[in-house]
Subunit: 259 residues, 2 copies
Amino acid sequence: MNILLTNDDGIQARGLWVLKKALDDRYAVTVVAPDSEKSATGHAITLNLPLLLDKIYRNGKKIGYSVSGTPADCVKLAVHELLPDRPDMVISGINPGPNVGINLHYSGTVSAAKEAALLGIPAIAVSVNSREGYFETAARFVCNLAGFVFKEGLPKGTFLNVNVPDVERIEEVRITKQGISGLSESFSRHTDPKNRTYFRQGSQTQFIDYDKTTDGHVLGKNLISITPVQCDMTDHDQIKRLKSFEQILSSLTNEGDNF
Amino acid sequence: MNILLTNDDGIQARGLWVLKKALDDRYAVTVVAPDSEKSATGHAITLNLPLLLDKIYRNGKKIGYSVSGTPADCVKLAVHELLPDRPDMVISGINPGPNVGINLHYSGTVSAAKEAALLGIPAIAVSVNSREGYFETAARFVCNLAGFVFKEGLPKGTFLNVNVPDVERIEEVRITKQGISGLSESFSRHTDPKNRTYFRQGSQTQFIDYDKTTDGHVLGKNLISITPVQCDMTDHDQIKRLKSFEQILSSLTNEGDNF
């Protein structure tokens, strides 16, 4: 099985290489990752700038590329141009820090897996609840999980978002939904040398989920959280409701002010 | 009613100002938009660089700010720091070019509205199926649609993605689901002056939806498409299926190779 490994922390990140080492035992792994940190780049792609490449070697062997783009760029470029064969799976991570709740919208780690799912390739995003921790535990689990996904499959357009607690030995896995854990958002106000105001944005994941079936809650209990994430963004319940307004909405198309 | 107006094409984009003119007739509008084009930036936010501001004036009156960040940054910064009051609605657009199908994942226009929905603020993203076209038709409709949303409401975490055909007079509106219209993706290979290979990424929206209830199909028929989009990314159907594997998955947590 051929696995494309990527991340959003860049080619130098420790989580990537711990995961590669674990996957190498069982799979043919190619790394295509950003050449620098691309955290919080969401599902951005690079249309206005060139995508520069560097071949990456380890122990004299070419094992992939670094790319001057986003995680989603890396997946697209790898699948369309760089890999000789379409990968059987894309794995993104290990991200140092949780990707739960609304973080999923901002996460480059998650978006790389989402890009794979959009391309019809099974995918796993994996994060550890720690900046510096037991990445080996997460790596071992994801290696096993990849085997599970190969065997059991996932529907097209759905991938797995995995969050692993920062402990050496984990007993249990829970299937979860995306919670509402937010970011503790902060903007600090500064003044530059020209006396102009600017802001710096800070963000830290909060675990505010009281719902025990959510990713954030389960991770906070030191269990592995696996959330099936889909590419369909439609609110299907609202379609039913809004369809009853279609005539009213149509009447709004050409009136200067009729509502 | 206070409306925050933003976009992903930047403060100079024509679509923004056509929409502002229409909204000004009925609402108090503040503009907080990127200082340059930020198309295809998805839901990226800026954590590693300062967010610089410029006050924007029209006819001697301060009407908002340009920000050296992404559309999502603009919404966050406006709501948390720049606006005296929380806006009653966020409108993002008018984007020149459709935002249908899988484009929604890449679109900065859509992500600005999604950021508002994450913050609990009603939101509309609006795009026209044209680079240079009848933006006035879209602006008039969105002005009316804002009144509809104020009156009828939307559930928290759901916003409207509106695509308007490039025609002067539109007869009908359809409530749609996000389709599978893809991007016609292309990478061109180049060589730089140092003889290194690089790629340029191109993308063009395709209308490949045979399903008549999708955004792309409806827009292709020159009808206005309104898709309710939700922030919940969970594949709830897969939760039910994967829960039956929880014990097997738990057994994978600490084994070297047991699958």
